[in-house]
Symmetry: C2
Subunit: 337 residues, 2 copies
């Protein structure tokens, strides 16, 4: 039986720079009741992702922003605990964008059934979910790596970066990652098999990159933007592809950062820089998911999760992620089954 | 009979900002003699193009820089006046990259025979030459316009821009150009049939663009970079294509210009920004040339040349082009036939 009470986290006010605890509020409310055609989902895993910072911003983007007092946007994995639709049964495991809360009602079209035989169900918002799909299509469809290419990925130990680098290795690339601690660099090189790693907080990135990429850079998968990206662009080869996935270094700046203009490099190198959203490839997600699940089974694709216990700790974990405190895919374990 | 004397313009010293007359030197030298397998070409038309500023810069680029004391790089149209190769006859009209001079020797592989029946031969370095090919492939292959798209082109009355805009109209786009004088704006709108034009020197570009592009911008063909490009990026639509051809606003800056970072817009709009060189499409030039010659015959494609008489006036004309003083494709008439 579902509880009568729902706990949820709303955006209390809009941050203009780094988010702080005061921008979030934990609320108690009656648990929602499913109407005809809906199901009630009890959330087990909440995914915390950098894109959520964009939803806290006012103004037009590719998605509607969260308003003050509204539940924070977020992908979850949960269990159907009550169903008023023939398409879903109690006990089904589903994922969907149900927000930072314990319970939510949804129509079947808003949910995807998760196959628990594929991998642990938390992966439905991780390596086999949005971040994994982002890595897969952003690398393969946008970055178009070829055997022997040098691939650089930033935020390389993160939810997306760790997958990008490993798929790069599967595709026969030399893979170099940047990350924010020696432990993370050690992880991507010694656990995940990257060819080299750079700690962008302690190393001189331009010279470390030049050393790690003696043949230049053919594909860059960018999660961070900023000075790391500036350094990468100085080393790109002719016909390089830059897959622009995220710019986390810029998300919390109250004013846009000024930097040297970069478009001249694109001409000189006849290079392509392309932004994308994972939703652009929705029609191909299922194929990628099956392929990646197979790589997980064969041990070619590993993943590291960073699990925080308790919904009440979501804001702190999210704030920490904005400065790279997480190590791997950041998840909130909302309720222990 | 060719003259015994060759006049040529060499780079006297390397500019670090805007080029000045002192960076060039007119020299007199003996006319070169063709060796076995070569022909002697007498230059009639010298093309002046923004890319030449890049050749005056030291350091690696996609092409070898001019050294101090060397003849300036430049495409020409000329006449074979002496031939020691069966592949070329006296009287043949050819184009090639023979530099800023009256006479040059070349092997057949360095030259292309020009068909004077196609259009006036000066077009071999203009609308039917490098600038025309740049426009054609940079728009069609890189920008990929579709019927009904809004296309913006910067430096719209220039050698490349004027062709881009007209091909855009042929392809069924709404075409908006930016240029640096009211006369140029009048020309692109009233002579070439652009839908709107903006004088970037006197108008507020962001608001003028917003007014001229009520449905946003789908394709941007960029010749200039800088603040015009910043304004365009604020208006791009989802899946916009930015074809990066030139960045003339940046070529003469002693230090790179700082500007707000732009990569976040690419993600939000899932947009592509791609640099290219006309040589990337060399295998398809001939097809494009025939197609464009037909458009010229039918009156769908017009071109405006800005002709300067005399090789000695090439440096001044080139310097003027760097600040937009030319009006149309800039050519030097080296010798009157």
């Amino acid at each position: 039986m579902p509880a009568d009470t729902n706990h949820r986290i709303v955006m209390a006010s809009r941050p203009t720079a780094y988010p702080e605890p005061r921008h979030f509020r934990l609320e108690e409310a009656p648990a929602p009741k499913p109407a005809e055609g809906e199901a009630l989902v009890q959330v087990e895993w909440l995914s915390l992702d950098p894109y959520m910072r964009g939803r806290m911003r006012e103004g037009p983007s590719y998605a509607t922003p969260v308003q003050e007092g509204e539940v924070m946007t977020g992908g979850v994995v949960g269990h159907v605990v009550e169903s008023r639709t023939p398409e879903l049964d109690v006990g089904d495991i589903v994922d969907g964008s149900l927000g930072w809360q314990e319970y939510a009602v949804a129509r079947p079209g808003q949910l995807r059934k998760v196959d628990p035989g594929l991998a642990p169900i938390s992966t439905a918002v991780g390596v086999l979910g949005m971040p994994g799909m982002t890595a897969y299509f952003g690398l393969l469809d946008v970055g178009q790596p070829e055997v022997g290419d040098t691939l650089v990925v930033s935020a390389a130990s993160g939810a997306v970066g760790q997958v990008v680098g490993q798929i790069g290795k599967i595709m026969g690339c030399r893979v170099v990652g940047t990350a924010g601690s020696d432990d993370k660099v050690d992880f991507i090189v010694n656990e995940l098999g990257f060819d080299a790693g750079i700690n962008y907080k302690t190393q001189d990135v331009p010279s470390a990159l030049a050393e790690a990429c003696p043949d230049g850079i053919d594909v860059y998968f960018d999660n961070v933007g900023g000075p790391v990206t500036d350094a990468v662009l100085q080393l790109i080869n002719v016909h390089a592809r830059i897959s622009v996935c995220g710019q986390i270094s810029q998300y919390n700046l109250p004013e846009p950062e000024l930097a040297p203009r970069q478009m001249g490099i694109l001409i000189q190198k006849q290079a392509k820089m392309e932004g994308f959203l994972v939703f652009n490839f929705a029609h191909k997600h299922e194929h990628a998911r099956q392929r990646m699940a197979e790589w997980i089974r064969t041990g070619q694709l590993k993943y590291r999760e960073d699990v925080v216990e308790g919904l009440e700790n979501a804001p702190g974990a999210f704030i920490g992620m904005m400065s790279g405190e997480n190590f791997g895919k950041l998840l909130v374990h909302v309720r222990n089954y």
